[in-house]
Symmetry: C2
């Protein structure tokens, strides 16, 4: 059984190119107790990987020159000496760009391969979909007729949040940063209102106008002035899910601004921070729900699938030239079972 | 049946005196449909009433000269033409200092007269007790061995919060504003630690030192820098109940300061504002629990009971000369049934 890997051959200067990658053969060590042999089935290529190809400090470590690139991969367990993983099981995790990988199982999530195409577990049923699902449905708990506001609305998470809120019968207002995004949210995804915060004359007034009945649920990816504008019009018993606070990520000291506590007090409102892994025990149920809504056409999800392990670098480079529509994936192999 | 009332005869200048009050006979109108006749049983006299005797603007309206003083009263329904109130029912509400009152029922809470002495419904089983109960137990949800911090710890609510947290097996840290209060919390009420925020050299360090395992539950009556000091050491999945934000009450514009949202995100923490009436449907259960803990000696509650309607003004004036230990009440009549 031959194994191959794709390594970072050298760091890109400016735009990445095919020369930054190299193919190498890789050995497959004999399995020890507590290990599994994984066969890569579907590989995710993502824009954030460009950052890891550089040597600069970031919130994730840079890739090492000479080592395999790593990223989201759906793989099949083809041999197992691990009690928690059976042969034929399908897992998702952060894995090297290799045809086969020996692994100890840590950090892998087993998924049900029958609920949806395997590729979905790297997108709509993966981190963005699950994050939207739990933040909106478990923390926001939206009721039909309520108003839901989502910031960072055109992002991977925000687009799903808005669609889930529509499925739940809510009025949905998105906040995003370009007119193209606003048009996409309203015309393609069915948001009731969308606000370009960069061009709004008065963001407080814009939010208030878009939410004449106040705000019952706020899904926040951003923080800062957009959040303040929402806080001013939350209703009694509002629920606020804090998913991201990107407006503060470059701060060098703790963020300051409007105190939300007196507003939460006055409105008997709830605010909850979360990370998707908090809800790991319910991933299976969530994936089933999400897959059902995609199948029923209630949840839009687009992907572009390239075929072949050898085409992973090309698929990655295509992200920067706009070759993909929706999520870009590479199919590497079929399941054995 | 003769009725009497106590009116504000004139406004005090400085300390209130017996001359500020006058007794008058009052008529008892015939009941209309939807009305009840209440017999006052126990009357609460409270320091805040001094404020209402003046003409100054405050968060509650001043009493009117010539009208009956009003306050917390436990009363019995002795006649009813109201579907929701049966003869013999016991209610608590804001009622005039009268022996009998005709009322439409709005704003009254019916209480179970069998769980505890009736006077308890004006204190430990009343607003302070219920506020502590729901904020700590329903929002804070403390587990044995967890660390609970309460600000405004020596107040009517804070003293109960701390004792309830001890009942739940927690390490309890109180924050208050005098050494006498600190000694009371530690020596009398069994708090594990108490911090005088006015004399602490560095409140952040003081909180961190008192909470070596971090903070799992924070019951906040205060806001501001005390809260910030707690936020810096909250644990993953911490719960923060916002009961009061007294440090901002005199602000003329929205409060600003540390943004708590990024901290809630990083710690997957929950923050919830509330007012005791949010939990009205569970008042009965709460009163039973609280009464049981008082009976078992687990929850300290002291009261001084004066006898007789005619002694209400004296009991009130005694608040300002330190004649009471704990909560001051006046017993006006026995139940008829």
């Amino acid at each position: 059984m031959e194994n191959q890997k794709i390594i970072l051959a050298n760091r890109p200067k400016g735009a990445p190119s095919i020369d930054n990658f190299a193919f190498e053969t890789a050995e497959i060590k004999a399995l020890q107790d507590g290990e599994i042999l994984l066969k890569s089935l579907v590989v995710s290529v993502d824009p954030y990987m460009r950052g890891r190809m550089s040597d600069a400090k970031s919130y994730v470590a840079p890739y090492e020159v000479g080592s395999a690139i790593t990223g989201g991969i759906v793989a099949e367990v083809v041999e197992s000496k691990h009690n928690d993983f059976s042969k034929g099981a399908v897992v998702v995790g952060n894995l090297p760009w290799q045809k086969y990988t020996v692994h100890n199982g840590e950090g892998l999530n087993q998924v049900n391969p029958d609920v949806a195409p395997l590729s979905y577990h790297l997108g709509i049923l993966g981190m963005p979909g699950l994050t939207a699902y739990f933040g909106l449905l478990h923390i926001g708990d939206p009721k039909p007729g309520e108003t839901v506001v989502v910031s960072g609305a055109a992002g991977a998470v925000g687009t799903i949040v808005g669609q889930l809120a529509k499925i739940k019968g809510c009025r949905v207002v998105g906040v995003a940063g370009s007119d193209d995004k606003i048009a996409y949210l309203k015309d393609e995804l069915g948001f009731d209102e969308a606000i370009n915060y960069k061009t709004a004359e008065d963001i407080n007034q814009a939010i208030a106008d878009a939410c004449p009945d106040g705000v019952d649920v706020y899904f926040d990816n951003v923080g800062g002035e957009i959040s303040d504008a929402v806080y001013y019009v939350i209703n009694k018993f509002a629920r606020i899910a804090i998913c991201g606070q990107i407006s503060y990520y470059n701060n060098t000291s703790p963020a300051t601004g409007l105190r939300v506590e007196p507003i939460l007090l006055k409105k008997s409102a709830l605010m909850k921070g979360f990370i998707v892994s908090d809800f790991a025990k319910d991933f299976g149920t969530a994936a089933k729900d999400l897959a059902g809504w995609v199948k029923d056409g209630k949840l839009q999800y687009q992907e572009t699938i390239t075929e072949g392990f050898e085409n992973i670098p090309h698929a990655f480079l295509g992200l920067f030239t706009g070759e993909n529509t929706g999520k870009q994936l590479v199919k590497v192999a079929d399941r054995e079972v």
